[in-house]
Each structure stands twice: as C-alpha cells, then as structure tokens.
Symmetry: C2
Subunit: 168 residues, 2 copies
DNA sequence: CGGATATATTTTAAGCCTAAACCATTTTCC
DNA sequence: GGAAAATGGTTTAGGCTTAAAATATATCCG
C-alpha cells in the first residue's frame, strides 16, 4: 500500500487506484457485453438459436471423445456455470428439436447421459464456424502480442479473483 | 472484411490466431461472469437488491447534478444499454420500493423524469461503497501497471470491436 | 391546418436464469 | 439391514431481458 510520499504525478495515480479499478471493470464489462450481444444476435439471425443452447452443444461436442460419449446433467451444469434447473430446461428444448438425446446411466439411476444426435453435431459445426469467425473479426484489431498480453493479464486477474475469494 | 480475404497465404496463421482469440474470449467471459456473479450475490445478500437496480440508481445518482435532476426513461435505457421495456419494469419496482420517483416532463408529455428519492440516494451510497470495495478486492492482485495495461488493452479491444462493426 | 412520420413509452409473449423446495436414488455408518 | 445424509435431477416462483406490437404525443412538411 502506497503512502503519499512523492511529490507530483505518481501519488495522484495511486490515490485514484480505486477509481481506476472501477473504470477498468466497467470497460471490461462493456466489451464483454457488446461481444456477447453480437454473438447472440448472429446465432439468432443465422441459426434461430441462442448462446446458451450453443454452449450446451459445444460442451457435448467436446465430451464426445470421452468414454460416455456425453455428459450428465450435473456435469453440464458445472461446466457451463449455470444452475441445474437451467440445464434441465435447455436440454429439454434441445431434445424437442432433435439436436440432443438422453440415455439412462446404468451405474446411477438418478442420472442420465446427454449427448449430441447426428443432427445436433451437424448444427453445432455450422454454428461453431460462424461463432469462431465472428470472434476472429471482433478481435482482429489486436496484434498477436496484444492478444497474448491480454490473455496473460486476464490470467492474472483470474488469480486475483481466486485469491480474493479465499477471504471474502 | 476487405483486408484479409486473399486466399491462400494467411490460412495457417489465421487458424492459429483464431484459437488464441477464442481462448482469450472464453477467459474474458469467464472472468467477467465470475465478477458479475459475486457482485450480484453481494447486492442480494447485503441489500436485498439486484445489479440492474443498482445500475439504475447509479445512473440517476450521476445525473443528479444536471439541470433535470434525473433522466428520462429513454436516456436511462440508452445509458444502461438495456431495452426500453426493461427500464420500465426496473423503474416500476424501484418506485414501489420508494427509491425512485417519476415526474411529468413539462416540455414533452410523452416523457417523464426519473430521479432518486432521498431514501434512494441513501441506499445507493451504501450499496456503492460495498460495490466499490468488492471490485477493489477482486482486482487487488493486479499491480498498478498491470491494471493500467489491462485497461489500455481493453481500450484497444473496444476499438477493434468498433472497427469490425463498421463492416460486419 | 392536417396527414405522415418520428419519438417516448408501455405492454405482451417468450426465453433465460436462479434459489429453494421437492423427489428419487445412492452412499455412509451404526 | 436400515436410518441418516448426500447426491442427481426436476419443479416452482419470481426477476431479468428482448423484440415486436400498441399507444400517445410531437414534429415535419405540403
């Protein structure tokens, strides 16, 4: 913690540290929101779907290589950082649309496996391509080392958040 | 999309870069979501309120110095980047709770002014203090020049987004 | 003036999201 | 074995959010 010792410029900046953090947070929130909205708008316009549904497909796609070939509801919930009930609703609509199917999980009759149908996999691939392309466009103005620097600073932020969680 | 549309040259670099950008986006989204959730949880637990309601109070607090002493529904909507109908609902509940009041706007009978009540101002001050403190904690692990660097890189990202918007 | 257009706002329908209560099954432990 | 606790999942009630339709008022222009 800095004491106000020096004369001119640096002290002012430090005394304003809280303000800087608030402005940083607001800018970060704003950027995230704008990108998020663009992605949602694109998914709605091009595929008549939503970001949460896309996220479910993406998680299941990544899980296809595993032994189960899919995920349980609870795994999905923890992976997407959304509530259990929310996953229930999302999976229900995806089942209704034929993009996803559920199977009983033999070794635990409370649980069930969710996995992509062929139609779901095909839909996901098309969506992922556009999703990926749009992110590429949005970040295109950043050079490689800016991208890298931002990635690393966000890693530091992640650590900072984790550290603050221990005591908060 | 004029610049990068040439065919064979950049493919490898672009595909690599795209992966980095996707990971960057996911990390940024994750950090933002975690902070957002913490703030919501704090506001709910400590003040039985929500982040959107806090945002309304914050906007009105900032507008208190102006001539009107408040904002119209439309100004609020544009400022918070949420839909008009959403503002209607938020203001209604804040009016019901006595934190906000609406006044007819003499020079345009379609519009109305929304402004803080004394109770609203008092509630906001307490909430803002905690909000500010929590952000300080979450970002505490970043040094001053890391904070500054992150702020500037997000500014670059903001420009990149704006530039991509011109053509997308 | 008066119709066409634009603006400010509300309403409506629908989806997302959560916490809390609830049910079914599994695990723990005596 | 069997009660108690834990876990997987669904349901419910309620708030947030949007787009689109509807309402009221204001402005533009012939």
């Amino acid at each position: 913690m800095a004491v106000l010792t020096e004369k001119h410029d640096g002290d002012f900046a430090l005394s304003q540290d809280g303000q800087v953090q608030l402005r940083l947070w607001l800018r970060m929130l704003s950027c995230t929101m704008v990108i998020d909205k663009r992605l949602r708008a694109m998914l709605g316009a091009a595929f008549d779907t939503t970001l949460p549904r896309f996220d479910v497909l993406a998680a299941l796609d990544r899980a296809e290589e595993t032994e189960l070939g899919g995920l349980t509801m609870g795994q999905l919930s923890r992976m997407l950082l959304v509530s259990n009930g929310n996953v229930t609703a999302l999976v229900q609509t995806l089942v209704r649309e034929g993009q996803v199917e559920t199977l009983p999980f033999a070794s635990d009759r409370r649980a069930q496996i969710v996995r992509l149908t062929p139609a779901g996999k095909q839909a996901f691939r098309a969506q992922a391509e556009r999703h990926h392309a749009m992110i590429g466009q949005l970040f295109a103005g950043l050079g490689p080392q800016e991208t890298q620097a931002l990635y690393q600073l966000l890693g530091r932020l992640k650590s900072s958040i984790a550290a603050s969680g221990d005591t908060a």
